[in-house]
Each structure stands twice: as structure tokens, then as C-alpha cells.
Symmetry: C2
Subunit: 244 residues, 2 copies
């Protein structure tokens, strides 16, 4: 058992309590215990979770509940979104083994890392994925790619526990300066509110797509906390000041 800092497993709108329990078991099999649950379909606690956890009750008891993905990732400086389908989003993609190298580096710098797992039936939405830095994809049989939720979690946890020395995709200097997600979400919300008031979103039908595109854009700029403050100042200035 290792004492290194742990990534946070975040179940987004999970449907079955049984799968939450199995996730807890899979996590503890590989030494992970930080679990967050976003808007579980059947509420929380869920009586079906305990029996499936097969003894990993401490993980369930310590699980934190959130209403939204934004809140669940607020204190994370790096978020991975697990997907099987190709989302056609402008994000880097990593396998579980590749992600572990970056996670190790990041956690040495005391930054929190969250790993999003979507609901059983549908997976993460594009809006969920837009909040992530990187798409996490398990290389899987393309003809039968539907992974069970707890199976997806255990494959990540297994690779994390292996702790293989994979060349990281990031420099630690970059990671140390990254803004926590709550700052980034704050910037996104400020920008969207101001754009709304300024009539930027002309077509209601296209608003969601535009917001997602903007969020991906801001996300992928890899801003530091200082960068976020600078941007907020710019937006405030542009939106409230009078043109000369």
C-alpha cells in the first residue's frame, strides 16, 4: 500500500447503487479511497451500494456528494473525462497508463486530480467533457466497446496502483501553475453572463453549442490562477466600462 497522493474518482449521475458499491470495491482493491458522487439517480446513501462493496464500506462512508460536476471538480487542477466514444473535441487523449505519469507529477506538486466517469447507460455528456483537461480512453475492442462502470474504474485504478514510469505528457512547471477548476468555472460563468447581456447569443438554439465551444476554448488555454484573474479583469473592464 502506497502513501502517495490519490486521484479522486468522480461518478457523474450514476444510475445503480450496486455499481457505486462495485466501484468502491474496485477502488479499494487498488488502494484508492477518494470517491465523489454527482447527482446519483436514486439518491444517496443508497441501500444497494453496501452489499456490492464487499467490505469497502469506508470508501462509501467517505464519499462526498455534489449536485453538479462543476462543484465536484472545483478544487481540482486537472480533470480527466473517461469516454469510449470519440467526442470530436479539441482535447488531448490519454490511456490510463499514460495518465498515471502525469497524475504522479501533478500530485507531487500538491494539485488535486479528478477522474470523471459517466452514467452507465449514456456516459458523460459533451458538457461534462468540456470541463476536463484530457479525455481518458481505455483501448478496447472497437466492435464491443461498452465497458461496465466498475470495470472502467478498476482498469484506471489498476494502472494507478502499478505506478509504471511512463513519460509524462506535461512539464511539472506547467502543472504547478495550473488554476483550480473553480477559478476556471468562475471565469466561464462570468464570460457567459456578460456575453448573454451583450446579446452575443443571438440564436437560442445554438446557445448551448456556443457555450460548450467557449468552455473548451478556455479550458484548453491551460490558464494559471494569475491568468484567470487577468482575464476576469479584462472581461469586467470590457463589459462595464464605457467605450471611449
Amino acid at each position: 500500500m502506497t502513501d502517495r497522493p490519490q486521484p479522486i474518482i468522480i461518478l457523474v449521475r450514476p444510475q445503480l447503487g450496486e455499481n457505486i458499491g462495485k466501484t468502491a470495491r474496485a477502488m479499494l482493491n487498488f488502494g484508492l479511497s477518494n470517491l465523489r458522487i454527482v447527482a446519483p439517480r436514486d439518491g444517496w446513501p443508497n441501500p444497494n451500494a453496501g452489499p456490492s462493496a464487499a467490505g469497502a464500506d469506508d470508501v462509501l462512508d467517505g464519499a462526498e456528494l455534489f449536485d453538479t460536476v462543476e462543484e465536484a471538480v472545483a478544487d481540482c487542477v486537472m480533470v480527466y473525462a473517461t469516454t469510449v466514444r470519440d467526442r470530436d473535441m479539441p482535447k488531448p487523449v490519454a490511456t490510463p497508463a499514460e495518465a498515471v505519469g502525469a497524475i504522479n507529477l501533478l500530485e507531487k506538486a500538491e494539485g488535486r486530480v479528478g477522474i470523471l466517469f459517466g452514467p452507465e447507460r449514456s456516459g458523460l455528456t459533451n458538457d461534462d467533457v468540456a470541463l476536463a483537461d484530457t479525455v481518458l480512453t481505455v483501448p478496447v475492442n472497437p466492435k464491443f466497446s461498452s465497458l461496465n462502470l466498475a470495470q472502467a474504474v478498476i482498469l484506471f485504478a489498476y494502472e494507478w496502483y502499478q505506478d509504471k514510469d511512463v513519460t509524462p505528457q506535461y512539464q511539472s512547471a506547467y502543472l504547478e501553475g495550473k488554476a483550480p477548476k473553480e477559478l476556471l468555472v468562475g471565469l466561464m460563468e462570468q464570460l457567459e453572463k456578460e456575453l448573454e447581456q451583450h446579446g452575443y447569443f443571438r440564436s437560442a438554439g445554438r446557445r448551448d453549442t456556443q457555450v460548450r465551444m467557449l468552455r473548451n476554448l478556455l479550458q484548453n488555454m491551460e490558464l494559471s490562477a494569475q491568468d484567470v484573474a487577468t482575464f476576469r479583469g479584462i472581461i469586467k473592464s470590457l463589459s462595464t466600462g464605457r467605450p471611449l
Copy 2:
């Protein structure tokens, strides 16, 4: 999807049909389709297997049923026994990633490889493990090591699908000459019968332990088909011929 030869997943006395279905799903996620089932507790076919397979019905439909582990591994030249607990047996131990290197080599030589997975509650018995060449162990949290059956299968299948280039523990010349298990089991049974008739097993209470020790001994000698024939001749000669 790869066309390379596949190892055979062998479920030994599985208890729940649901777990057989989940195993099929986990296998197909990573391109495996050869499933064998030994003495399933609730018979076969099992109506609970299909729904859990989530579409991997071809794997279930193609599953082969056996009464004993000996029969299920008869045509294999290499058998791995998955265990979590240390069995204190004189066998080499491999992780899933290490096993894949040897399996690839062996299958290039057209030898079949079987991977034994034990029942949910108790795992493989020492008698099951005695039939295996190598113990397959997933490095897991020692404080919470009980892996769900389908989870154990998916971790092996995942590593197999990755097909990482790991230095094999075996030379191909060795593997090409190995005796199929049915020859080895035949030798074991012949030896045990003759020893029985010759009063070797003096204490009925210790018989099982002695047989297991002998089986491990023969197993670990890594005999070729020719070696087996030689040994059978020796046993026959010793047991039926008259001392000069």
C-alpha cells in the same frame, strides 16, 4: 481487433450465472472469445448469464462445458492459475503483463494456453493450482485483495489486448516441446494408481497432500511429450515387471 491466437478463459466451478455473463462481456471488451466452464454450481446454460453479458452472447453460446479441470486443460500446453492468496507452492509467479509475453510466444508456436479462474467465494483449490504451470497474480492492495471474478478476468484481458512487449520468461524452444496437459494428467493418474496398489500411501489422511505434492513435482519438471512417454514406460516397467 487482432487475429492473434487467444488464450482460453476457464471458469472453475463458478457460482453465479451473472458473473459468467459479466466475464463474457469483459472478455469481449478486449477481444477474447474462448470460454470454458468447469462444473458451474447452477448448471449450464444459466438464464442469469445472458442479461449480464450485455451483448456478448456469442461468447456465452460458444462456451464449452467440462466436468473437471483436468478435462478443461487437456489440450493446453500451458496453464495459468489466478490466485490472490500466496499458496506456498513451488511454481513460478507472473503478473498479467508478464504472462502476456509468454502467451504470445507460446501461441506463435500453436500451443494452447488456459487461464484458470476460481469460484467467487473461495478461489481455486490447491488441487486446481497443482495442474498449472504458473501462478498468475494481480498486484493488489494487500489490505483489500478480494477481486470480483469478472474484475479479475477483465484485468487479464486488458493486459492481453494491450499486447505490450514484455521480456518473456520462457524460451520458445522450451515452449514448443511442452507436453499437452492431457498427457501429463495421464502420467499423474498412472503414477498415482500404481503407487496406490503398491501401498505407497500409508496414511489415508495424508494421501491428498502427497498426491498434490507429486502432481506439483511432475508439473514443474516441464516435460515434453517424449519425456512423458519415457516416464510412463518407466512406471509401467517398475510396477509390473518382476524384480530380478
